[in-house]
Symmetry: C3
Subunit: 351 residues, 3 copies
Amino acid sequence: MKFSLGQIAEIVKGTLEGDPSVVISEMAEIQNAGPGEITFLGNPRYAKYLSVTGAEAILVPRDFTGSYKNLIHVDNPNYAYALILARLRPGPPSPQPGIRPSAVIAESASLGRDVYIGPNVVIDEKVSIGDGVVLHANSYIGYDSHIGFGSVIFPNVTVYHGVRIGKNVRIHAGAVIGSDGFGFVRTEAGISKIPQAGGVLIEDDVEIGANCAIDRGTLGDTVIRKGTKIDNLVQIAHNVKIGQYCFLAGQSGIAGSATLEDFVTVAGQVGIAGHLTIGKGVIIAAQSGVSKDIAAGSTVLGSPAQDMSKASRELAHIRSIPDIKQRLKELEKRTRESYQATHGIKKAKND
Amino acid sequence: MKFSLGQIAEIVKGTLEGDPSVVISEMAEIQNAGPGEITFLGNPRYAKYLSVTGAEAILVPRDFTGSYKNLIHVDNPNYAYALILARLRPGPPSPQPGIRPSAVIAESASLGRDVYIGPNVVIDEKVSIGDGVVLHANSYIGYDSHIGFGSVIFPNVTVYHGVRIGKNVRIHAGAVIGSDGFGFVRTEAGISKIPQAGGVLIEDDVEIGANCAIDRGTLGDTVIRKGTKIDNLVQIAHNVKIGQYCFLAGQSGIAGSATLEDFVTVAGQVGIAGHLTIGKGVIIAAQSGVSKDIAAGSTVLGSPAQDMSKASRELAHIRSIPDIKQRLKELEKRTRESYQATHGIKKAKND
Amino acid sequence: MKFSLGQIAEIVKGTLEGDPSVVISEMAEIQNAGPGEITFLGNPRYAKYLSVTGAEAILVPRDFTGSYKNLIHVDNPNYAYALILARLRPGPPSPQPGIRPSAVIAESASLGRDVYIGPNVVIDEKVSIGDGVVLHANSYIGYDSHIGFGSVIFPNVTVYHGVRIGKNVRIHAGAVIGSDGFGFVRTEAGISKIPQAGGVLIEDDVEIGANCAIDRGTLGDTVIRKGTKIDNLVQIAHNVKIGQYCFLAGQSGIAGSATLEDFVTVAGQVGIAGHLTIGKGVIIAAQSGVSKDIAAGSTVLGSPAQDMSKASRELAHIRSIPDIKQRLKELEKRTRESYQATHGIKKAKND
């Protein structure tokens, strides 16, 4: 696909400072962009490449004051870049609707219109698949599960029984939805398993990364609400409730029955203990370990996690220990000297 | 299924305080339970819902002193709840024994009686499958591996060659058993791979979570003893030995050749370094990083992990630094004043 | 396979101190080795087993001074052990070249000579598979991807579209290569997905562990250079560049657009934030959280990670707080006494 800069400025609702007739055929990172290519300045870290880039044009923030041969000023360069990229690179061809011959579909399953069921996909009894769903190769959909309109399941995904998936959900390869929660009781006889008899509810527009594990509930459901995005290798334990429009970055883990309210952001490798409530809009920094409820709107850090400002002060305090020791030594010296002066004792040789 | 409260009290060996003829048809979480439903009080955090629950009856500890229309006092409400739930919700129908036509089974493999081999399951040469085993769709069992009586392998599991799995083992979807350990030697020529020529031994009654990775041994076996339960996304490196009845929570990782004795509890996101020994009954708190052997019976915390009481004291010490600074400032002031008093020097303007 | 000690000494270019005619048929760990078995002393931790091992012979370092019935002195016992193990235990039979009938191969895909395509493998349009490639059961290779000479893909692996894999690469079971990066923009309308329109480039001799997740680039490629080895459950985000001959241990995670130069070693459960540069030869200790660029040659530790010596000093400082408090108390006492002495005030009762 090709677009003129004039067209691009329209698509991104931007203000062009340059030649509208220039033709753009590709997008590239600022440090690599060359003739015919547009790039963007979404992170100030990359401003250093402005002097070396060969890009034809650059998407920049409204308040950008530098100069370049062709600039398009926009509200949000990252969003503008997403819009343009979707036009310039439409991606691999979508699979044509149809059922590949090696798919194994139970008799009582129901399929919507215009679905694609890839090779070796296995669909169990009582499953219902909505219109326009794409199930890629080698995935498994368990008994009595439902997948809503337009959702895409990538290869080698496992959906256990009794899982309800909304519309336009994307589940990446290797993810597992609805495995048993980790529920056991130590008894005199050894260890007893607690039945994991709940399900999983995933609402519309959720995206789940590769090789995630999302357990089913014990009694009620594990729930992931509308628009939440989950990165790779994330663990969601039984009966967790995740609100709308949350972000969970890679390798984070949420223990059983924890609740995340809406708009929570969880960075990479964070752990959240069981039965906690994380308030609306909370931001949890990478590798934090959350062991208490977190009030809405907070930003927390550390293991155990605490308010960002507290955690920063704590780190500063730790780093001031050498200074404390120095001052302490000084005081000890003074005190000793003063004592000696008062009492007329001479300084010991080894002191 | 339906049971009277009298029947339920018998099943859980509990003491009913209420009407034995009340009929129970479902179980629910205390905050959600309503008419016809029984719930349980397994965690004191949930006592706050006693005043709002609509449950017909509640399973409570023997020493519970509150009042409610129908209570059943039991030794362990969590265990009682597991027993009742298993009766009330028998789960999805178990697959009928049989071999689905798209399964691919090598000639030299041997299958026990009453096995279920799901669609697209691949069984390699010399594999032996015990009686009553269930292999769900799209799983792979490698050369010369063995799966014991009654074990259940969920979809998309990979069992490499030379893996021995005991009776009544459950392996959740996406788990990988017997992949190569991470063994390499830097040499002049670059990096040489150390052959991973051992196997994996998984004893009876083990449960392994979704998307775990359990490597084969280099020389001897990686071993997981009877009754141990492993949560999702756990990493077990080559030649690790895990004792009986251990719990390993989600995203924990055990490096090569470490030994966990019996009854060890490893919380979420814990890391244990290679070649260590973790004594019997040790408890390791979430996100800890264990870098030394841990004596039997200890509870450890932190990264590097140390005894719980030491770690708590250390945290208290860190949090007392502001107080230390305050006291230091006070002393400095006093010392300065005392010096000035003694030497008759006036306070400097900028001091 | 069997070898005489004389043959073994030749294979490992070692110096035999013992009987060259002794026959070795197996290799074992030092604590378990018995008659007919050779073992090795690669880690001084295991020297304690020298007095109890029943091994026929031991591979030891050149400078080893202990005595045993048969010793072979070598430059690197770990490497010698790798060489011998490869001879003694050739592993399970390699699959014979051929295409298993249940494999599903698109018309426009091209296959090299002597490939093995296992049962239920799915190969999409425009894929090219090099000579001697082994694709194990139930794997999926997406549109327009390429797999180079001699590479081995284990079961249940997913390779998305547009992934280029070099020669002699090994990808373990359940790994996912080329899933979408975690790229979203919050907008007024909610959350917009940034197209993940780049690819993945994996160079020769790379090994990737079980259940890893390696995302495709947004614009350019995610890149893993020659000879790098990646353990299980590792997360590599979009546009990460990993140099040659790096090691990434289990459950480590590299956030988007980070660069690792050559010969970097990343221990288990490490997290590296986005857009950072980790210099050549850097070593990052287990569970570290890297939040800044790291200069070549450094060894770092902690979360936030800092130079190993700084981190150790910091830990020592923290552990000296009780001593600081003791000294502070002492000073306070002295100061109080001195004040009282000077001012003639009696010690208060409650003091």
